[in-house]
């Protein structure tokens, strides 16, 4: 009984502490993004003022970006289109390759299956940056330098191993009886793949597809190395050009950054609804 008198203040105390911690987490997480939005609403000439909130908020930067009315942004729409096209193409190939491979490994169980999944796992671990130099040179050998296909293939190379790994882990949860029943009904591997495997893996496909789309949309280093013509740039390469000088109109950089950030952010939160376990599931399975 004596606990009752102290329990309430203690719980209040705990809740206040948790509230403060929550606030710190939110401020820490959002500050750079808040700063980006503030700068995007700041008149271009006041970019150097270090305002903590928009003092003379204006949408003028958004008009400038969307009408491509600046030297740095002369091909904004083209470059946004490039980013989207490359992301969609890469994701389609990633899904095709990874679905087929994971189906073979986990459902057909060939003797060489474990070797393939081993190699996929190694490829998943290798940091992409460490392959940038030879990848660039190999693309030169293939005659693909400057070609957007090179960037598509780069995303395919780095996203497919992860996709295989995640799909394979989820494929093990499908009961073997499904395949056995299909075999008895006379279905071949092709039917088992299209009629059973792909439909049942749909939630994982959404997660893996969203991952590939985001990887491609965000890729900077490889895009910067592999693409040379401004009309072929993706948005990250265009944004990177602003770093060249401090006199560049950074409020416009931040404005295009906000616009560029919206699709992956929206996609992520939608994909998260779709698969409750989240997109990270399977990436580090204990």
């Amino acid at each position: 009984m004596s606990d009752a008198s102290t329990a309430l203040p203690r719980r209040l105390h705990e809740n206040v502490l948790l509230g403060v911690l929550g606030l710190v987490i939110v401020v820490w997480s959002l500050l750079p993004i808040y700063h980006m939005v503030v700068l995007s609403l700041t008149p271009p000439r006041e970019g150097f003022a270090g305002h903590l909130w928009p003092v003379n908020p204006t949408l003028a930067n958004y008009v400038t970006v969307l009408t491509q009315a600046d030297y740095y942004l002369a091909q904004f729409w083209q470059q946004l289109g490039n980013s989207a096209l490359i992301a969609v193409a890469a994701t389609a190939i990633v899904l095709a390759c990874s679905l087929m491979a994971s189906f073979a490994i986990s459902r057909l169980r060939p003797r060489f299956g474990s070797l393939v999944s081993y190699l996929a796992l190694v490829a998943y671990f290798v940091p992409a940056t460490f392959l940038a130099i030879p990848f660039y040179q190999v693309m030169g050998t293939y005659g693909l330098l400057g070609n957007q296909l090179a960037l598509v293939l780069c995303v395919v190379a780095f996203a497919t191993p992860y996709a295989i790994w995640v799909l394979q882990q989820n494929a093990h949860t499908l009961p073997d009886e499904l395949d056995d029943a299909a075999r008895i009904d006379g279905a071949g591997p092709l039917q088992m793949f299209t009629l059973i495997y792909v439909p049942l893996m749909l939630p994982t496909i959404v997660a893996v597809g969203a991952f590939a789309l985001m990887l491609s949309w965000n890729e900077y280093l490889y895009a910067f190395l592999l693409l040379s013509d401004e009309s072929r740039f993706t948005i990250p390469v265009m944004l990177g050009q602003f770093m060249a000088d401090d006199a560049a109109p950074w409020p416009l950089l931040m404005t295009s950054g906000v616009i560029y950030m919206l699709p992956p952010t929206a996609l992520y939160y939608v994909a998260r609804q779709f698969q409750s376990s989240g997109m990270m599931s399977g990436s580090v399975k204990g």
Partner: protein, 296 residues
């Protein structure tokens, strides 16, 4: 679809193997299904790796790199970046996971916002931080001046502050991912373990020490190793923030390798620089392969 599946439908592939066939019916199909990935792997992963090893076998590049004082500084920076960047990040992730496993709407909303740094593309958010940290006109030093009436430090143009800023940005960007990995592992711990511990009179810290930590130690270790590997390849947190400067003094192996190859057009030196991470990278990859294979 007319596949000659019917006559084989009931024959288990093991039987065929015993009869001495090279490939069973389904294995032949498996080969077909694996072909696209096999092509991608050979053309865009295995060949570049082989090519890198070939370029790296050119011994004449080693003296060039090893006698460059910037290279030695880069090694030191890489060590600091990995030890503090990964170490602090994983400890913070472990600590914060205790917050994010709590039930309630508030925590769910905060966890959605907390994920934003990880979800948002690198380029605009890191460039935003670069502008915030500008010592002359950035938001942070403006705030410091308003609050304390002193000039804030040169966050990006003084090497040790530069490394501090780089590590902070790296943690900002990747903390959410690893926190959520640990949260997912903690949510998988059976509830009755905690109930049993409570009945035995275990305090919250004892519950963490004797129930939570042993249950997630494996995931935590795997995550830390994986994070160390990937952090070695973190190019953006450095390049977009300080560009490796001032005077090339905040480079890591990743940015320095790219710099040799593409600024100085010395591909061999670039490869050699990247390859100096192999003595750490290869053992980590081998241990990780073993761990992930066993746990499945």
């Amino acid at each position: 679809m007319t596949t000659p599946a019917t006559n084989n439908a009931l024959a288990p592939s093991a039987d065929l193997r015993r009869r001495g066939q090279l490939l069973s019916f389904e294995e032949a199909w498996a080969l077909f299904f694996i072909l696209p990935f096999a092509l991608v792997f050979v053309l865009f992963i295995a060949y570049p790796i082989a090519y890198a090893l070939y370029l790296g076998s050119d011994l004449s590049a080693y003296p060039r790199v090893l006698t460059d004082p910037i290279y030695l500084l880069t090694l030191q920076n890489t060590f600091v970046f990995i030890v503090f960047g990964v170490g602090l990040k994983m400890l913070l992730a472990l600590a914060l996971s205790s917050f994010f496993v709590l039930p309630g709407r508030g925590v769910r909303i905060i966890s959605a916002l907390f994920l934003l740094p990880w979800v948002a593309p690198h380029i605009p958010s890191i460039l935003s931080i670069r502008w915030m940290l500008n010592s002359d006109w950035g938001m942070i030093n403006t705030l410091i001046f308003k609050l304390f009436h002193v000039d804030g430090p040169a966050w990006l143009t003084q090497p040790s502050y530069g490394m501090l800023s780089i590590i902070t940005v790296h943690i900002w960007k990747y903390l959410p991912f690893w926190t959520m990995i640990i949260v997912a592992a903690r949510l998988g711990i059976p509830k009755d373990l905690y109930e049993a511990a409570k009945i035995d009179g275990a305090s919250p810290s004892q519950q963490f020490r004797y129930v939570t930590f042993p249950a997630i130690a494996g995931v935590f270790l795997t995550s830390t190793m994986l994070s160390a590997i990937w952090s070695l390849g973190d190019f953006n947190s450095i390049y977009l923030l300080t560009g490796g400067g001032p005077m090339e003094r905040t480079n890591t192996l990743a940015t320095m390798g790219i710099r040799y190859a593409f600024r100085k057009a010395d591909f061999e030196a670039g490869i050699v620089t990247m390859m100096s991470a192999l003595p750490v990278l290869v053992p980590l990859i081998i241990v990780l392969l073993r761990r992930l294979r066993e746990q499945r």
